[in-house]
């Protein structure tokens, strides 16, 4: 299948983002696939019979991300930090409040509906809950074949063959195609969800905690499957998770989110070896060790996550930070590269 624009097999043939406003600190790499600039998603909170807006939940409050073809960007953070909202806003499944998303240079938020539908072929999503993400009234073959039918990519015999190949691709028997989702286990259902996402031969998939709801033994299988598919199909992933260990295993780069903002972003191995932001350090110290008998420094943040409806002034992490000082509540830290490494970005007054 050839896409209307550059085919998957030639990742370097992509045009650079045309007319990108406010040139970023680093020049855009040639194989840039996704460019998220200062994305904000605020949900209005309405009260009373008139539905007056009394405030906004700042689920995503100004994040910028870049993803190259065939690479994986991990997005980590605890529950409620806005990582799922970020993933869905990037796909324009939730309306954005501000910011821009460019996919292969095209402004996703500015596309008219027909163009958006065409673009959806190239960006897909895999969900956390394998039970809620499949329509219980459709057969597996219907679920996987529907996008092909709707986008007029296949019909009849060809459609059957492609559904069968997709099922085989994710490690399921093609004979399963007439069965209903409720007959499958969680891991199998997640494979069906992956096959559905792959049906349109996308270039980019948002993996929204795809293994969090699975048994530990199944988690590795699905991770390996995603890894294999990336190698075979040249997919780019935005891998959302709350487990830093999982993310750094699969990701090239990792962004750590806290309360709607990115607090640290670096290549996975560097982040893993030397986290700089206090929040990342806390997350890192929470990863279980293979030798629990050895002493270790456990860093536990104080208190609870503040409300995104009323975030603390200054650095959002300061009320919980063990190293907070007088500058933290007064001034919002910027996400800046470290002097030592330009690809390691930290938003902390301790570092700058």
């Amino acid at each position: 299948m050839t896409a209307p624009d550059a085919p998957d097999s030639a990742p370097r043939a992509a045009p650079p983002p045309a007319g990108a406003p406010s040139a970023p600190a680093a020049a855009p790499p040639a194989d840039l696939l996704l460019d998220v600039r200062d994305l904000r998603t605020h949900f209005p909170v309405r009260r009373g019979i008139l539905g007056r807006t009394v405030g906004y939940v700042r689920a995503v409050d100004g994040i910028s991300l870049r993803l190259r073809r065939g690479r994986t960007l991990g997005l980590v953070g605890e529950s409620g930090c806005g990582k799922t909202t970020a993933g869905r806003t990037i796909l324009r499944l939730i309306p954005a409040t501000a910011g821009a998303v460019r996919f292969e240079g095209r402004d996703v938020f500015a596309l008219p509906p027909a163009d958006l539908r065409r673009l959806r072929r190239h960006m897909q999503i895999i969900f956390q809950d394998p039970y809620g993400s499949l329509n219980p009234r459709m057969t597996v073959g219907g679920i996987i074949g529907e996008p092909l039918k709707v986008h007029r990519l296949a019909r009849g015999r060809d459609l059957e063959d492609r559904v069968a190949r997709l099922l085989e691709h994710v490690g399921l028997s093609p004979a399963y195609r007439n069965r209903y989702p409720h007959e499958f286990s969680g891991g199998q259902r997640q494979r069906i969800g992956i096959a559905r996402a792959l049906a349109l031969e996308p270039k980019f998939i948002v993996c929204d905690e795809p293994i969090s709801a699975l048994d530990v033994s199944i988690q590795a299988q699905i991770l390996n499957l995603l890894d294999r598919l990336q190698d075979e199909l040249g997919l780019a992933y935005l891998f959302i998770a709350h487990d830093l260990a999982v993310v750094s295993h699969i990701s090239d780069d990792v962004a750590v989110m806290y309360l709607g903002r990115i607090v640290e972003q670096a290549p996975a191995d560097r982040l893993y070896a030397g986290p700089l932001h206090p929040y990342t350090k806390c997350l890192m110290s929470a990863i279980p060790r293979s030798r629990p008998d050895r002493p270790r420094d456990r860093i536990v943040p104080r208190g609870e996550v503040p409300s995104a409806l009323n975030p603390p002034p200054g650095c959002p992490f300061h009320p919980r930070c063990p190293w907070a000082f007088d500058r933290c509540p007064a001034e919002v830290p910027l996400l800046l590269p470290m002097p030592s490494a330009s690809d390691h970005l930290v938003s902390c007054h301790l570092c700058h």
Binding site: R88, L91, L93, L116, R117, R118, R120, R121, M123, Q124, I125, F127, D129, G132, S133, L134, N135, P136, R137, M138, T139, G141, G142, G145, E146, P147, V150, H151, G156, L159, E160, V163, S173, P174, A175, Y176, R177, N178, R179, Y180, H182, E183, G193, R196, A199, L200
Partner: protein, 399 residues
């Protein structure tokens, strides 16, 4: 010819169970549901076959060595249409089964194709009927000349259909061999009156609830899925409609409609345009739930158009409460129709009318007894069935 590929997994050899099959399995476990379903089917069949059960036109008539089948010239177009609908309706599950292997190969549902075939057959039949049939109506003829026939197959209860023509000598008879439920004050057989009353009850119930639920599902799903201004406007409309008392609206409309409009249709119309609010609210609530489900988000991410998303993903998952509501709704419509007829607001053969007749003469207990029992049983079985369906579609059920 085998269309099923060889299977490697033992789990695959089991037949796939659809949601419908699971609900049916639950229903089958309840004797009250099965009995109710049986009574409803028997009632529908009896109403359909009314001219064969009680009436004056013989099925077969032999005179001077020539045999004829008079009843088929006396059946109305509506009756033929109802027969066709019934037969095709019974044949539908069969044709779905026949179409299933083909549909499974292409990954679709056999229902669409089956309905298409049935619809076409129905249209052809209706066309042929209108074009070829010469109806004949002369009542009393056969009963009067019964002795002239060499042989005649009359309905089970051979009795005049027109009350004006009834055998007045036979009036106010208690149940007997000839009239199993007795006769009324004009000598009309009660079985016949009950059967034709059942037709009215069924027609009102099915048509009013059918139209009402269709409107409710369509508007409710749009309202719930899209939200915003459409939702706001529709919700206000629903509040206005719900504010109108149904009975008073019907009485008003019956007072103003021209006499050329059959009052029964006016009642069905009023029921349909006032009854949809309940279905609307059920469907809207379901859609508010469903639109947040991941499979709907997935469908949006796949670029599936809104209309297809609603028809294939959202509405099928929200229909279960509608089914329950419709079952209860039919009971309600039957009851309301009986009320209207009891108040002599409509003059179709009806159980309510019969009840009113009987009320004025308490000594003819078989008249009001039969009418009351018919209303009671019908409302009861629909309520029992509705309750059983409600339990069977319990969300805790493993779907």
């Amino acid at each position: 010819m085998s269309s099923v590929p060889p299977t490697a997994d033992a789990a695959l050899t089991a037949k796939p169970r659809t949601y419908g099959a699971i609900v049916w399995g639950q229903l089958k476990k309840r004797p009250s549901a099965m009995i109710s379903l049986g009574v409803i089917l028997a009632l529908a069949l009896a109403a359909l076959m009314a001219p064969f059960i009680a009436g004056e036109v013989p099925v077969r008539w032999v005179q001077d060595g020539k045999a004829s089948w008079p009843i088929f010239r006396y059946l109305s177009n509506g009756e033929y249409a109802a027969f066709a609908a019934f037969v095709l309706g019974l044949a539908l599950p069969l044709s779905v089964r026949l179409l299933r292997p083909r549909a499974e190969r292409t990954g679709g549902s056999p229902w669409g194709r089956a309905l298409l075939i049935h619809g076409a057959a129905w249209l052809l039949l209706a066309g042929a009927l209108v074009a070829l049939r010469e109806p004949e109506r002369r009542y009393g003829f056969f009963l009067e000349r019964r002795s002239e026939a060499d042989a005649a197959w009359f309905p089970l209860i051979a009795t005049a259909r027109q009350p004006g023509y009834a055998e007045l000598a036979e009036r106010d008879r208690p149940p007997s061999r000839r009239h199993p439920l007795g006769t009324d004050r004009l000598g009309a057989d009660l079985v016949m009156r009950l059967l034709y009353g059942a037709r009215t009850a069924m027609a009102i119930g099915f048509v009013a609830v059918g139209i009402g639920s269709a409107i409710g599902v369509a508007l409710g799903s749009v309202s719930g899925y899209f939200g915003g201004r459409i939702d706001l406007a529709l919700m206000r409309l629903v509040e206005v409609v719900m504010f109108i008392p149904q009975l008073i609206l019907i009485i008003m409309i019956l007072a103003v409609i021209p006499s050329s409009v059959p009052p029964l249709w006016a009642v069905v119309g009023v029921l349909a345009v006032t009854n949809w609010t309940g279905f609307y609210r059920l469907m809207r609530a379901e859609l508010l739930r469903i639109r947040g489900e991941d499979y709907v988000t997935a469908a949006r991410a796949l670029g599936i158009p809104s209309w297809r998303l609603l028809l294939r993903h959202a509405i099928p998952n929200g229909l279960a409460p509608i089914l329950v509501g419709a079952t209860f709704g039919i009971a309600g419509a039957v009851f309301l129709e009986a009320t209207l007829a009891f108040l002599s607001l409509v003059s179709t053969p009806s159980w309510g009318e019969l009840l009113n007749d009987g009320r004025q003469h308490a000594e003819t207990w078989w008249v009001w007894g039969a009418a009351g029992a018919a209303i009671f049983i019908t409302v009861l079985v629909y309520n029992l069935l509705g309750e059983a369906i409600r339990d069977a579609i319990d969300p805790r059920l493993k779907i």
